[in-house]
Amino acid sequence: MHKLKDKKLLLQLIIIVLLLLFPIVVKNRYWIYIPTITAINIIAALGLSVLIGFTGQMSMGHAAFFGIGAYASAIFTMRFGLPFWLVLPLVGILNFAIGLIIGRPILRLKGLYLSLATLGFAELVQLVMSQWKTVTGGWSGISSIPAPTIGSFSFANENRYYYIAIIMVILIIWVTHRIINSRTGRTFIAIREDELAAESSGVNTTKYKVLAFAISTLYAGIAGSLYAHSVKFISPDSFTMNESIIFLSIVVVGGRIGSIPGTVIAGIILSFAPELLRAFSLYQTMLYGLVIIVIMNVMPDGIGKIIKGISTSIFKEKNEKATN
């Protein structure tokens, strides 16, 4: 039992150290930007994974909440002059509250109906983003979003902002792990496995489904906020169905049954791929679509399953003791 924990911990520490050393080694701005965006995508996707992968619900409009977080963050820092460090958790709480409010009526629906409802809602949100000119700047969006600062130390530089993103994603991964392995996570999984049986076993499925939804919107909000202050310019074009599809793809490729490592790795692949394929420009998006089609046909259960297999063989244990 000790050996297992030590091995895993060691691996995690090595990865973290490598991540922290990255900008010192790699000086190219572009190559710093990609991991930053990747981290942001992973945060958003992990939230969606809690909802879809672990609780078995659906959302085809995740980008809308990502966008709400981005706009809220921009507005709070620019119009109200609040510091980024206060705004980030504030946006998270705001998005969580929105998730609770929207989730309650929407999660009465199931399956396709739920998908379409989230889709419709997301489209409405995007419409509001583009039409509510006084607040959101309409189609022109909001530009010159300020970088976070600590006193006179500014995080405007990509190298520095990278650290914010990396630390946040590590934190979020840890929090997600705790949620999933808690009794709440266990309840989420039961709902995914058989919602009816969960309800008849005494689980208030409505409460938990709404909670999962609110967690997903919370994550999306935080990711959105990080996004806004990283790219410094946002417009309704950044939060369309396409973006929702990207988050959804990361989750399903990572593991429909819900897998934190799977989602992380899928997030890395699906964030790096378009950038690496930029050389092919026109065909880049085509390849992206093709990748999704292929993965669904070849590995429908996602990367998570493969990772689980690999990890069980690396970290092999003699007793089959439950680790909860």
């Binding site: 808690s182 709440t184 999984i189 496995e193 008849s200 005494g202």
Partner: protein, 255 residues
């Protein structure tokens, strides 16, 4: 009186599935509910457990009206059920399945469980103790860490019953628990149900297997076409001509 159904009627549009049904179940009883296919037995279960809304009438649990409450609330009030075609959580272990069953007894909030407060740890420990007791009681210890999808049908049945017991309910409703079991497993089931009753639970059983019903039930209610056609103990029921007719059809007296 633990559970009372008073003039319960359930209509699906024009079809009346349960018609003016009144049944009383005493504490500590093993009560059987039988009848030919389509007589409304499962509908009655769904009405009691809150999945269907009553068209009229009421369901009282120790005097408290539970009609119209949500299913999970009814569980916390003290009624748990199993399903005809076994609904366990396939990718969770036997132990985890039971832990979910105990969910309704949890007092600590969700945030608490995420940040793992000490009070939560303590509650979790007690929870595990209790589910371990149930697993021992049902004699399925060797399957404790096995995935629910990975065990035999007979054991799955016991796990489902264990999950119901984990809710610390007063009444356990078993929907055709013997379906799909071999004779050995059925005997184990019969003894288990008796053991459960002896441990303080009240049991309501829907079954087609007459041997099981006759073997364990104190009182039996017979339904046909959604109505009660007879009620009594084993001896009374097995000699009741209406019951025989319902199951076997009218005996041609001119034969």
């Amino acid at each position: 009186m633990l559970l009372e159904l008073n003039n319960v009627t359930k209509a699906f549009g024009g079809l009346v599935a349960v018609n003016d049904l009144s049944v009383s179940i005493e504490k500590g009883e093993i009560h059987g509910l039988i009848g030919p296919n389509g007589s409304g037995k499962t509908t009655v279960f769904n009405l009691i457990s809150g999945f269907y809304k009553l068209t009229s009438g009421s369901v009282l649990l120790e005097g408290e009206n539970i009609s119209g409450l949500k299913p999970h609330v009814i569980v916390s009030k003290g009624i748990a059920r199993t399903f005809q075609n076994i609904r366990l959580f396939p990718l969770m272990t036997v132990q985890e399945n039971l832990l979910i069953g105990a969910n309704c007894k949890l007092r600590s909030g969700v945030i608490g469980s995420i940040i793992n407060l000490n009070s939560v740890k303590e509650e979790e420990r007690l929870l595990r103790e209790r589910t371990d007791e149930i697993i021992k009681f049902l004699e399925i210890e060797q399957y404790k860490y096995r995935l629910a999808s990975d065990i035999s049908y007979g054991v799955q049945r016991l796990v489902e019953i264990g999950r119901a017991m984990a809710s610390e309910c007063r009444l356990i409703m078993l929907d055709e628990p013997a379906a799909g079991l071999n004779p050995q497993e059925k005997t184990i089931l019969m003894n288990t149900i008796k053991k459960i009753r002896d441990n303080g639970y009240t049991v309501l059983v829907v079954e087609h297997d007459m041997r099981l019903i006759m073997g364990i039930c104190d009182l039996i209610t017979i339904l046909n076409f959604g109505e009660k056609i007879a009620e009594g103990n084993v001896e009374e029921v097995s000699t009741n001509p209406d019951v025989i007719e319902a199951y076997l059809g009218r005996r041609d007296t001119h034969a």
